[in-house]
């Protein structure tokens, strides 16, 4: 039916000639009428030189930042090896942009290399990273004068090699990222921000980088700024040294590799001269002497210290100032640290050579996996108010009966900065005396000094057995293992069991200020006993409470303050105006002393156990071993493993319980996890690639096959228009079919020899606005026109295909 629109071969060839002329005009930009540029005769670009110059820039930036960071911390590593690896990697990354095909292949190779490096050297990388983190912790520890910084387990004995491998590996990854920013966009602002972020902490800790890396970093940043500020750094892949920008009527050079290289060299030399002269005129040592600390920095010290200890969680850190007092909440922090600020001030007359305890929380029911102790509750679940137990009553009674080695004391407790609560000495009936911050209370107590039976009734024992023997099912296994390993026995005396457990802890489970937080979905006690095997007082006291209960000994988990005699003698202040008799009466292990005031800091916060001795009643059982750190700390890694689901499986857990924690298991775990990460990364990258490459097309095809013929025709037409308008902005101005087709015809895209323009407009308008469906023949013919036009569009663009 369109035969009538077909034109003669002669006319067709004329139009073809016209279109050819138009294309030639477009391809050959005109300086003035009759004087055109011949792009095909232009000099070619020196791409490889430019890529190498960019590679050097990437090297300066990456090595500048990393070198500044590592040199400021005085990390020991093989600098030469790291320089060589980072330099080669920078050049490789920069050369990835040599052409598009190599870009695709090169990135895949790079990714494979990084994955392989991670797989085979994972242990070294991990260990080296931890070593650097530990060095940073050490620097922070020195700066903040704190011993409670986190440390990570270094699995490799050869620290030097581990750090070299790890930092080189990280340097290579940085090269990839920095290269993307530098080679493509010269994003110097972003690089400055990233560099500032990395160097912020060492600079805050007053650790200065070496001059070499300052030069490299400054040169990298300024070179980048200069090249970006002047443009001419993007590769065009057109192999021409100059290009004509018709919109701006600008004959512009693409880039000048030689001059970029000169720029970098000049900036490096300038930085060397300036910094060299600066260090002579105003040496670093002189600056260190007079630098001082700004008021602004003073204000931020506490926050930064928290962050350096707890990471970002330090910003939301409500824990440290109360030391170990958490009202039974366990496992929420990875480490404890002391600020040595006074929480309580107590005034009393010393009466014993042992530790004095002030109890503030008594845990009855342990809630597994929720990781907290709960106070005693009644049948309806309401918390039972603390009340004086029979032991206290018996102590008081014994004192009143003037029995041997009994006494009565008074202690004044002032709440300086602790949480509101009762701070009850042993043994006191005044369980209702809550002390709010800033307030002071006086407690009367009857200490247990005789070490003899006090005559506990059967009822009391029965009551203790009824209330304080619960062990959650979930903890039975670990607790049984603990009891077995510690040699506890239900036939043995309470005191013997306490001693055995304390000894077992001392010998087998080290005390640690930084055992790491209990991982998500892990039970605090099971994790402590089965996997982590290190902890602080709350870990020991919690496990011990359940262990004693397992042995049939009623036990309580208790939190409060434990004041050592040493603290009293060293920190206490004698209250000369106070009379001893007003504070203490009866038997004293230390004789008559002066009344003293002692500031109790958060360092005295503590958790312990109260066990029920059938003869002695409720007694303090403090099984927490002496403090001692072990370097083998796997906290962060374990958390990452847990997060990724690559943590130990059941058999590993069993091995752990059996004490079979071998290095080969850890290495396998590292490999497995690295493998998982690599696979996940590859899948994610492949997914992104597929979605980016084909996502729109797939959606389009889905819509296409669901549409009617009219809609399909419009969809095909729109896509066709979009492709042409990518090269011709002027086409976008035309909004209706007629104008658009006229434009296409005028620019030689529309094959009006196949379908006449008026007819095409009519068919499109019918498809777009009418309910009348276009015929199959019309649809095919129009589609054919679009396809033919697209080929012309492709040819006209001058783009090289394939």
């Amino acid at each position: 039916m369109f035969d009538g629109f077909k034109e003669t071969g002669h006319r067709r060839s004329e139009k073809r000639d016209l279109r050819k002329k138009q294309r030639q005009k477009k391809e050959s930009p005109e300086l003035t009428e009759g004087l055109v540029i011949c792009p095909e005769l232009m000099a070619g670009e020196k791409r490889i030189k430019m890529l190498l110059a960019k590679g050097v820039l990437v090297y300066l930036l990456v090595m500048g930042v990393m070198g500044a960071y590592l040199s400021s911390l005085d990390v020991e590593l093989s600098w030469g090896v790291m320089h060589v690896i980072v330099f080669l990697c920078s050049l490789y990354c920069a050369c990835l942009y040599y052409n598009k095909r190599w870009q695709n292949i090169g990135y895949l190779l790079l990714l494979a290399g990084i994955a392989a490096g991670g797989y085979f050297l994972g242990k070294y990388i991990n260990s080296g990273f931890y070593a650097v983190a530990n060095d940073m912790s050490e620097a922070a520890s020195g700066f903040f004068d704190s011993n409670a910084m986190r440390s990570y387990g270094e699995q490799i004995g050869n620290r030097y090699a581990a750090i070299t491998i790890s930092m080189s590996y990280i340097g290579c990854i940085c090269c990839v990222l920095v290269n993307i920013m530098v080679s493509r966009k010269m994003r110097c602002g972003l690089l400055v921000l990233l560099g500032a972020g990395v160097l912020a902490m060492p600079l805050y800790l007053e650790e200065e980088p070496s001059l070499l890396y300052m030069v490299m970093l400054f040169a990298g940043i300024f070179s980048c700024f200069m090249i970006r500020g002047n443009g001419h750094y993007l590769l065009t892949f057109r192999d021409q040294a100059f290009e004509w920008k018709s919109g701006k009527k600008l004959f512009s050079y693409v880039y000048d590799a030689k001059l970029v290289g000169r720029t970098v060299i000049c900036v490096v030399l300038t930085c060397i001269i300036i910094l060299g002269a600066g260090s002579v005129v105003y040496p670093r040592s002189l600056h260190q002497n007079i630098r001082g600390t700004s008021a602004l920095k003073q204000d931020t010290l506490e926050t930064v210290e928290n962050i350096s200890i707890l990471g970002l969680a330090g910003l939301f850190n409500f824990y440290p100032n109360t030391g170990g007092l958490t009202n039974g909440t366990l496992g929420g922090v990875s480490a404890i640290r002391y600020d040595y600020e006074t929480d309580l001030t107590i005034r009393f007359a010393p009466y014993t050579q042992n530790r004095i305890y002030l109890k503030t929380f008594t845990g009855c029911d342990y809630l597994p996996y929720r990781n907290r102790w709960q106070r005693q509750t009644d049948a309806s679940g309401n918390v039972v108010l603390e009340r004086a137990d029979t032991t206290t009553a018996q102590m008081k009674k014994n004192y009143q009966k003037n029995k041997k080695k009994t006494g009565k004391g008074k202690i004044f407790v002032k709440n300086v900065a602790a949480a509101a609560g009762v701070y009850l000495p042993y043994y006191s009936e005044e369980t209702d005396k809550v002390i709010y911050p800033g307030a002071q209370q006086e407690y009367t107590f009857y200490p247990s000094l005789s070490g003899k039976a006090i005559g506990v009734s059967e009822n009391d024992r029965q009551e203790a057995v009824n209330d304080w023997l619960d062990i959650p099912e979930e903890n039975q296994k670990e607790i049984a293992a603990l009891c077995r390993n510690a040699g506890l026995s239900d036939t043995d005396s309470v005191q013997n069991n306490v001693k055995k457990l304390a000894q077992y802890y001392q010998d087998n489970i080290p005390y640690s200020y930084r055992p790491g937080a209990t991982p998500y979905q892990e039970d605090f006690i099971n994790y402590f006993l089965g996997k982590n095997k290190r902890g602080y007082c709350a870990h020991f006291a919690s496990a011990a409470t359940l262990a004693f209960r397992y042995m049939g000994i009623p036990a309580r988990y208790v939190e409060g303050y434990g004041i050592d005699p040493g603290d009293i003698s060293e920190e206490g202040t004698i209250e000369y105006d106070q009379k001893y008799e007003d504070y203490y009466q009866g038997y004293s292990e230390v004789g008559k002393t002066a009344v003293v005031s002692v500031n109790v800091t958060d360092a005295s916060a503590h958790a312990w156990v109260e066990v029920f001795d059938p003869e002695m009643g409720w007694q303090v059982a403090d099984v927490t071993p002496a403090s001692g750190e072990e370097p083998d700390d796997n906290g962060l890694w374990q958390r990452i493993l847990n997060f990724l689901g690559g943590g130990r499986n059941a058999s590993d857990a069993q091995d752990s319980k059996n004490g079979d924690r071998t290095d080969s298991g850890a290495a396998a775990q590292v490999k497995r996890t690295t493998g998982y990460i690599s696979v996940v990364l590859l899948v994610v990258i492949a997914g992104i690639f597929v979605i980016r490459r084909f996502g729109r097309q797939l959606l389009w095809l889905l819509r296409f096959y669901r549409s009617s013929r009219n809609d399909r025709l419009i969809m095909v037409y729109q896509r066709y228009l979009q492709r042409i308008s990518r090269r011709h902005n002027s086409l976008k101005k035309h909004k209706n079919y007629k104008d658009q087709l006229n434009w296409l015809n005028n620019h030689g895209y529309w094959p009006s020899d196949v379908v006449r323009l008026e007819k095409a407009v009519s068919v499109l308008e019918r498809a777009g606005f009418s309910r009348t469906e276009v015929t199959e023949e019309e649809y095919k013919l129009m589609s054919q026109c679009f396809r033919a036009s697209q080929k012309r569009a492709g040819n006209a663009s001058g783009r090289k295909r394939g």
Binding site: E33, C38, L41, L203, F222, F225, G231, F242, L250, L259
Partner: protein, 351 residues
């Protein structure tokens, strides 16, 4: 060259650089770090160096423009070379030259720019390969150069005056199809038939007869007096010289074709050793320009001069009338003209 006349701040980059400085100073106030102090020093000194280098370059910059041929034939490829010279050790990553290219004959002028780097101490050059599509005299000139400092925060515009000219001639191929004998015989017959002394020749000398001299050149009166044959030696004003009038059209394409045809026709005449007098109208002086061409060299020179004037001043509808008035003794001439979009070479009488 040269006087500095414009300073232009690139605010976005300047603010970026200032932010870097302010951020560094702010961090230094808080941290009091030696690293940050040195960075501040480097920021300031590099900034000063960059701006100083810019002014040093601006004060010593020369621009030169060369073209590979002064006279070229249409469709030939040529090379335009723009050079920037200075003696400083500084360099710039981006210089912007404001260029102007004009086709004087076609009266079209375009402005465009060249962005090129400025190498330290020496010559920086850019070569642009060009192709000539139309004939004409081209004038390419640079009036202003903008230099950007290394940091890209300041630009200085420098006035420079440099340029070059080039003439693109039509490709002159002898007109194979042009039958010149008709013109020659036609003119000869016309001229020879006229009474003696009224042709467009002048007596230059009297000499003894040499066999072969025409009878009509014998000076009979003098021969009688001297007793031997004497002949008048003539020098031709137009007798052996073809007058060719080129009547250009308002249409540029047609005018180009007319000149192309003229070249071909004149070449044909010259190949027969027939000197040509090209006549073309000059509207500025309101007279015909005469170009005597006895060889191809002179023809090319004539074209160069013709193309150096705008086409519009070559257009005159009443050329035949003016020709009659200006050259009353000229009887015939060859007219190269456009007739209904057809270029034709015709013999016309000057009436």
């Amino acid at each position: 060259m040269t006087n500095k006349d414009q300073l232009h701040f690139r605010w976005a980059h300047m603010i970026g650089y200032l932010l870097l400085f302010v951020g560094d100073i702010g961090a230094f106030v808080v941290l009091r770090s030696y690293f940050l102090l040195m960075l501040a020093v480097v920021i300031v000194l590099i900034g000063i160096l960059s701006v100083y280098g810019l002014f040093a370059l601006a004060g010593d910059l020369q621009v030169r423009i060369y073209i590979s041929g002064q006279e070229v034939i249409r469709d030939e490829e040529i090379e335009l070379q723009v050079q920037m010279l200075h003696r400083r050790y500084f360099f710039a990553l981006n210089c912007l030259l404001n260029m102007e290219a004009e086709n004087i004959f076609r009266e079209s002028k375009n402005s465009w720019e060249i962005s090129m780097p400025l190498q330290p101490s020496g010559v920086s050059r850019v070569s642009i390969p060009l192709k000539t599509q139309y004939i004409g005299k081209y004038d390419i000139r640079c009036k202003k150069a903008g230099i950007r400092d290394l940091l890209g925060i300041v630009e200085v515009a420098v006035t420079v005056e440099s340029g070059c000219e080039m003439t693109v001639l039509p490709r002159i191929d002898q007109e194979e199809t042009l039958e010149t004998s008709g013109f020659l015989s036609g003119m000869s017959e016309t001229e020879e038939s006229r009474e003696k002394g009224h042709d467009f020749s002048e007596v230059n000398d009297i000499r003894e007869y040499v066999p072969g001299d025409k009878l009509r050149d014998i000076h009979w009166k003098l021969s009688a007096k001297q007793g031997e044959l004497m002949v008048k030696e003539r020098i031709s004003v137009s007798g052996s010289q073809m007058v060719v009038l080129v009547r250009l059209s308002k249409e540029k394409e047609i005018s180009e074709m007319l000149l192309q045809k003229t070249g071909g026709a004149v070449a044909s005449f010259l190949s027969q050793n027939l000197p040509i007098c090209l006549l073309i109208w000059n509207g500025q002086r309101y007279e015909f320009e005469e170009y005597i061409c006895s060889d191809m060299q002179e023809l090319r020179r004539a074209f160069a001069l013709i193309l150096a004037m705008p086409l519009s001043i070559r257009i005159q509808e009443q050329q035949a009338v003016y020709l009659k008035n200006s050259y009353p003794f000229l009887r015939t001439y060859v007219s190269i003209e456009n007739e209904d979009s057809q270029i034709q070479v015709v013999m016309r009488e000057n009436v």
